[in-house]
């Protein structure tokens, strides 16, 4: 589904991603872990198409198409969704209103009929139940005055509504208490299917107790320095990141 080869990206001439190779197939869940500042959010943003980052080398192919050629909205229409680490507040724009427009633009792109007001509402209700989202949040301005947890839940709610093929969750677990975490994880799990894939970015293994990954990668200084299975996450939880850093340094000499 997604093939990243030797991806390098920089911002203001600082190289942040240093040659990333990653392959994600339909049906898989990949966890990307790593200490703060290692480039996890940068990777997620580059996949979503944030223009501040300049891709200096490498390729990203999504379902056989060159992702780099696409505007952020085209990527969304192709089926990529990123849950932001820091969702922005947009005063004056209601979640419902903008989601309806987004969903219908995506449907149009895929050759589907737009949903009318009634079917959209039915669709919305179903997804609200899934993430136990409160109606009152939806009629308010997008994320404005939402608590950290409410913002994260709103991200997962939007993911559920838009039904992407590849979801990238950037630290969706941070700022969530255990109940909210379970709800979010449950939402993600219900959307897992053999033709969908998920990339979970986190630096705690806590979330991975609820969303069981098929693969775990450690990102450090803009490179994937170690890959493994679920056990790697447990090892990181136990030992921290220092041994990874040591191991990585020794490969440099």
């Amino acid at each position: 589904m997604l093939i990243i080869k030797n991806l390098k990206a920089s911002i203001e001439n600082n190289e942040i991603l240093n040659g990333i190779d990653l392959e994600v197939n339909a049906g898989e869940v990949h966890a990307i872990m790593g200490p703060n500042g290692s480039g996890k959010s940068t990777l997620a943003s580059v996949l979503a198409g944030r223009e501040e980052f300049e891709v200096t080398d490498g390729t990203i192919v999504f379902e056989g198409k060159d992702l780099m050629e696409m505007e952020p909205e085209e990527r969304a229409k192709e089926g990529i969704f990123m849950a932001f680490q820091y969702p922005v507040e947009i005063p004056g724009v209601s979640t419902t209103n903008f989601l309806k427009t987004a969903l219908n633009q995506i449907r149009e792109y895929r050759g589907l009929q737009p949903l009318d007001a009634v079917s959209f509402l039915t669709h919305l209700r179903e997804k609200m139940k899934l993430v136990e989202m409160d109606q009152s949040l939806l009629s308010r301005a997008l994320n404005e005055g939402f608590s950290g947890g409410e913002k994260k839940r709103n991200e997962i709610f939007q993911m559920a509504v838009l039904e992407p093929k590849l979801s990238i969750l950037d630290e969706t677990d941070s700022g969530l208490d255990i109940d909210a975490l379970k709800i979010v994880a449950n939402g993600v799990n219900q959307l897992r299917s053999k033709d969908k894939a998920v990339i979970v970015v986190t630096h705690y293994q806590r979330l991975l107790n609820f969303i069981i990954p098929d693969f775990v990668h450690v990102l450090y200084q803009g490179k994937i320095v170690k890959s493994g299975t679920r056990e790697l996450a447990l090892e990181l939880e136990e030992k921290g990141y220092d041994w990874i850093k040591e191991e990585y340094k020794s490969t440099l000499v």
């Binding site: 198409g49 505007e71 969704f81 947009i90 724009v93 301005a141």
Partner: protein, 435 residues
């Protein structure tokens, strides 16, 4: 050049006085004397620094002729409201009876067309009601009084209904030399309520110079919503002074929507003459093409315990030039004044500009005042967020601009005006959503 403009106006004034079909001679003469003291604004004039009005005044100004019904041959009905309401349609500053519906006896309003009053009646009306206070010595207020001949007088009483009054000012004149002065006088008697919407409109061929002056006397305990919608497509200059005199316990909400105009200037002056007045000044301007739109506002707190709140927002596109100047005066005995001001702008292109300037002058010590101005582009993070959800760039931009403008539109209490503005502004911003 500047000197000669004053001379041109002097000649015009003398000619006008001789014809003796305008305001009472003494009234006009005093006004013209005051005008001559300041003279026509030139390039050194601080108040008109960014609005070079001297370059746009006709070289040989012509006052409009008296016509029977200027709208007799026009097929035009830009009604903002389908419900029962009072509609007064003016074409080039002349009332068109054909298009107006003012005689609603049940409304219980007193409406007088100044042009139909005898000189004595006009003098009496001016003496009874007019007490113009020219807070910033604006020369156009004096010119308006000097050439006063046409206008409308509206008076509400406690017994009158609150049917909205719509004034449509339509420009059809094409002559660049045409110089039109028009006065709107609204008197709210004690405890009365009213809604007044002033709508300025023109087609592409319109030209000339328009000097409008609206005066509102808000009596004790009265409440007024005042809407001003400016959507001009012609080449004419619109100079618009609005004075609002508020008495004890009155409440006035003013809305100014400047949607288009080659040269458009509003001087909105709130004069809080007694205690416990409340004033809200909302504004939205969209400056596109080569338009120049200038909003100068003054809130003059003269007495204690008044509250004023101002919120103006603007979007500047193409080569548009926007100007905002917000004066707040708090006079020495206006203790316990609360005065707030905010001006926010979004600039969409490199060649669009906005000049924004708050001007607070406070002589009292126990006051709460704040002001803030921001100018920026659309927020990139917000834009990316929306696009990452699948909205194309154009739609995402329109959605953000709509949200920006909607904060002001949302304050409108008169539904037909709100619906109309929502529709027109969304169209201007390229926003097309079905809900």
């Amino acid at each position: 050049m500047e000197l000669s403009l004053n001379q041109v106006l002097k000649d015009l004034f003398e000619k006008h006085q001789k014809q003796n079909n305008g305001a009472p001679a003494a009234y006009a003469e005093q006004a013209f004397e005051r005008f001559m003291k300041t003279g026509f604004p030139d390039r050194k004039s601080e108040e008109y620094k960014y609005f070079p009005v001297h370059r746009h005044f006709p070289e040989s100004p012509l006052l409009a002729e008296k016509v029977e019904d200027p709208g007799a041959h026009l097929v035009f009905s830009p009604k903002l409201d389908d419900r029962e309401a009072i509609h007064l349609v003016f074409i080039d500053g002349r009332l068109s009876e054909k298009h107006s519906s003012r005689d609603l006896p049940e409304a219980g309003l007193e409406i007088k067309h100044l042009n139909q009053l005898s000189s004595t009646e006009l003098r009496e009306l001016l003496e009874d009601h007019l007490d113009t206070y020219n807070v910033n010595n604006d020369p156009f207020i004096e010119l308006n009084s000097s050439f006063l001949r046409d206008g409308i007088f509206i008076k509400t009483s406690k017994k009158s209904s609150t049917l909205p009054v719509y004034c449509y000012y339509i420009t059809s004149a094409e002559d660049v030399n045409s110089f039109r002065n028009f006065r709107t006088i609204m008197v709210l008697e004690q405890d009365s309520r009213a809604e007044l919407a002033e709508y300025f409109f023109s087609e592409e061929n319109a030209g000339g110079f328009e000097n409008f002056f609206t005066e509102v006397y808000a009596g004790k305990g009265s409440r007024l919503n005042l809407y001003r919608i400016q959507h001009k497509r012609g080449k004419e200059v619109l100079l618009n002074n609005i004075n609002i005199y508020q008495k004890e316990n009155s409440l006035v909400n003013s809305f100014t929507f400047s949607l288009s105009g080659k040269m458009l200037r509003n001087n909105l002056n709130f004069l809080l003459e007694e205690e416990n007045c409340e004033s809200h000044l909302y504004g939205f301007y969209f400056v596109d093409g080569d338009d120049v739109i200038d909003n100068h506002t003054t809130v003059d707190h003269q007495k204690p315990n008044c509250f004023s709140n101002e919120n103006y927002k603007g979007i500047l596109d193409k080569n548009g030039k926007g100007i905002f100047n917000g004066k707040i005066y708090v006079r020495q005995n206006a203790q316990k004044t609360n005065a707030f001001q905010s001006n926010k702008n979004i600039v969409l292109t490199d060649s669009a500009t906005i000049n924004t300037k708050p001007q607070l002058e406070i002589w009292a010590d126990d006051v709460k005042c704040s002001h803030g101005a921001t100018t920026g582009q659309l927020d990139n993070h917000q834009l990316f967020y929306l696009r990452s959800r699948g909205l194309d760039e154009r739609t995402a931009k329109a959605l953000l601009l709509h949200a920006f403008a909607f904060e002001i539109i949302d304050k409108i209490e008169l539904d037909p005006v709100k619906d109309y503005l929502t529709k027109v502004i969304n169209k201007l911003l390229g926003y097309q959503f079905d809900n």
